[in-house]
């Protein structure tokens, strides 16, 4: 090995070591554990540990709650991600508009939910969504809509969680997209205007293509975040009513830390990993094709 190569390895050694110790080894350990029935009895005595091969995965795939959790999570991703990015983009466009007044106030206000602690937010939202006294139902009542039992009706609990997560998280992507908008050169808009493009056309042919790489980034990050949604149902509904708001991560938390079935919790983690990996690959493939 040449001196420079050695120096290079030495420089990356701390990072490689940290990744190995805190990432690679735990992941391999978790994969190994997912082939066992590690539980409270095995914690007492390793002789109680049984190797079950793919048993955990088989049980998992035949557990209705797992499929429900997966379906719930997919609903979240499919509805939540576009809504979230749409809200972020809309807010960023509004903030970037030349007509906007008190821009920094609005920017702070819309970013505030991101930095507010979720527990406090949950308390407020629980009141907003209250069937009898909630502001949301009051508003709907003014429009002549019957009160909705947001957190108690199996049909509406998930939309309520989606609403909360979108509201809580859109500010973050908004800042990223706003930075991207500010970097779009003004002459492009000028040229478009000279060619007679309307505002809508300017958005379609100038703004969105310029933002495309950022939107892809934001989409990948948001999909990953929504796949791993846990805290919102945890504080709002504890997975209820009738487990309609159990997400895959919530399911894994219960298996692992509540019931201490670490073997099957690890299996859940790997199944979720495979899903996210495939989803991200598809996203990349699609975006590459549209770019080409």
């Amino acid at each position: 090995m040449s001196r420079t190569a050695l120096a290079g390895w030495l420089f990356v050694a701390p990072a490689v070591l940290a990744i190995a110790v805190f990432f690679a080894i735990p992941v391999v350990g978790a994969l190994a554990m997912s082939f066992t029935d590690f539980d409270i009895y095995a914690l007492a005595d390793l002789k109680n540990l049984r190797f079950v091969g793919l048993g955990n995965y088989e049980t998992l795939l035949s557990t209705p709650l797992f499929w429900r959790a997966l379906a719930n999570t997919l609903i979240l991703v499919v509805i939540g991600v576009p809504l979230s990015i749409g809200a972020s983009l809309g807010a960023a466009l509004l903030l970037n508009s030349k007509l906007a007044r008190w821009r920094s106030f609005h920017r702070t206000a819309m970013f505030a939910p991101v930095v507010t602690t979720l527990v406090a937010v949950a308390v407020v939202w629980r009141y907003l969504l209250h069937t009898r006294y909630g502001l949301v139902n009051y508003g709907l009542g003014q429009l002549g809509v019957d009160p909705v039992d947001w957190l108690g009706d199996p049909l509406w609990a998930m939309p309520a969680i989606v609403l909360l997560s979108v509201w809580k998280n859109f500010g973050y992507n908004m800042l990223i997209l706003l930075a991207g908008l500010q970097a779009v050169p003004e002459d492009l808009y000028e040229a478009a205007r000279i060619d007679g493009a309307s505002r809508w056309q300017q958005l379609l042919v100038v703004t969105l293509p310029s933002l495309a790489p950022l939107i892809l980034l934001v989409a990948i990050l948001t999909v990953a975040a929504y796949f791993q949604l846990f805290a919102e149902p945890y504080v709002m509904t504890q997975g209820g009513p009738t487990q309609r708001t159990v997400t895959v991560l919530y399911f894994m938390y219960e298996e692992g830390f509540r019931w201490w079935s670490l073997g099957s919790a690890c299996a859940v983690a790997f199944v979720l990993f495979v899903f996210m990996f495939v989803f991200t690959l598809v996203q990349l493939r699609v975006s590459r094709r549209t770019a080409a």
Partner: protein, 417 residues
């Protein structure tokens, strides 16, 4: 005082403390929630009388306590002495983490007969005593006297049929409100009703579920009947947002809850309603019924090297005097009958608890129980919400319970072989 004398005194003092420090036993004591906050004060006299023990008390939040204890066990960092919810004892017994206390109890002045039978029983696993009850908890009825009187009844229900009759009368007077609240995210009410039956919830030494048994079917049918007749709202806690507000508004008349709620009701209900509520023993199928034996025990870990010191703390905290003081500080109810004499006997709200505590039964003592109870709650919630046929619920519950008990059956079979 001149400088030389002061120096001498100081060095003598230093010598004393270091000599003491060598003899002093360090005792790590974990307690949860409110108990963790008051236990230091409670043990102040004990510390004064036992200078050879240095108490290291750590408070844990309830929400993290279970996880923290299991992690501590895995990481070989358990405390010497710990407050344990008595439903957790089977689990820690499976880990073989706890020190049997039969010998100490026999030698000490702790009369077993003085404790409420069902509560003591929760600490006995396979014939060995693994904890000493510290305070008790059970579930019974909190009710609105004024609403009940308005419907024409001057005493609370004693059995199931009376309970239904009163609830229907209340509902008839005010059809927009409900008579009972059975939050769908709590399994305790249904467990309490099931424990009133002669048949156990698990059979063959905790190897299989017994939900298809006649006893559970009867309890389930009564429970579901409350919803079917429109006497209880199909709602969970988060939907109600504030139980005390709703209780004050008369949204429901009967509420099944535990002793901590006495303090909450006194604090949170408006002054005008303070004479309008009362507690009553849980009605049973025929006359006053059983309820759940809950609460917390003090347990010593097997790996502790300060077991004698830990036992002295347990003994101190088990004295009626210490238990009465503990009650004054926290509102927790004492597990010994003799600790109840005095102030507690005069407390009108505690009286029903005193009565109920003579009729409490432990939930099945297997580590998997909490998970099975959770499944029971989930299936019944689906039945109440019309998502699952009621007739198939017992079989479904047995199927789920048997699957969870598979490892236990394997362990028991192997131990036998």
């Amino acid at each position: 005082m001149n400088g030389r004398r002061r120096f001498l005194l100081a060095s003598a003092g230093l010598a004393c403390t270091s000599a003491l420090a060598q003899q002093r036993t360090r005792l790590k004591f974990w307690a949860m929630g409110r108990e963790g906050e008051v236990v230091r004060e409670l043990l102040r006299d004990f510390e004064r009388d036992n200078p050879d023990i240095r108490l290291d008390i750590q408070g844990l939040p309830w929400t993290a306590a279970h996880e923290k204890l299991l992690t501590a066990f895995a990481g070989d960092a358990v405390p010497d002495l710990c407050q344990l919810g008595n439903t957790w004892i089977p689990e820690f017994a499976a880990l073989d983490a706890l020190e049997p206390l039969d010998r100490q109890v026999a030698a000490a002045a702790i009369p077993r007969e003085d404790y409420f039978e069902g509560i003591w029983e929760t600490n006995v696993i396979d014939g060995r005593l693994l904890g000493v009850p510290w305070y008790v908890d059970t579930r019974l009825l909190f009710y609105r006297r004024d609403i009940l009187a308005g419907a024409g009844f001057d005493s609370p229900p004693r059995d199931w049929s009376e309970w239904v009759r009163m609830s229907e009368a209340i509902k008839a007077r005010n059809p927009k409100e409900f008579a009972v609240i059975l939050p769908l995210n709590e399994y305790e009410p249904l467990v309490a009703l099931s424990l009133q039956q002669a048949e156990p919830l698990l059979r063959d030494g905790g190897r299989y579920g017994n939900f298809r048994g006649e006893g559970f079917r009867r309890a389930l049918d009564f429970y579901l009947g409350m919803f079917r007749r429109g006497l209880a709202p199909p709602a969970n806690d988060t939907q109600i947002a504030n139980v005390w507000n709703e209780f004050a508004k008369g949204h429901f008349t009967f509420y099944i809850s535990g002793p901590w709620q006495i303090g909450e009701f006194k604090r949170r209900l408006p002054a005008s309603l303070q004479d309008a509520w009362m507690t009553a023993p849980l009605p049973g199928p025929a006359g006053p019924g059983h309820s759940i034996a809950g609460g917390c025990s003090l347990a010593i870990f097997r790996r502790s090297r300060a077991k004698d010191a830990a036992w002295r703390v347990v003994e101190y905290l088990s004295r009626p005097q210490a238990q009465r003081r503990f009650h004054e500080m926290t509102g927790n109810l004492p597990p010994r009958r003799s600790s109840w004499s005095g102030v507690l006997e005069g407390d009108a709200y505690a009286r029903a608890f005193r009565d109920q505590l003579d009729r409490v039964k432990p939930a099945p003592k297997v580590p998997e129980w909490e998970r099975i109870a959770q499944e029971m709650r989930l299936v019944t919630e689906r039945v109440v919400r019309g998502d699952f046929p009621a007739a198939e619920a017992p079989a479904e519950l047995d199927r789920r319970a048997d699957r969870m008990l598979e490892k236990r059956r394997w362990m028991l079979a192997r131990a036998k072989a």
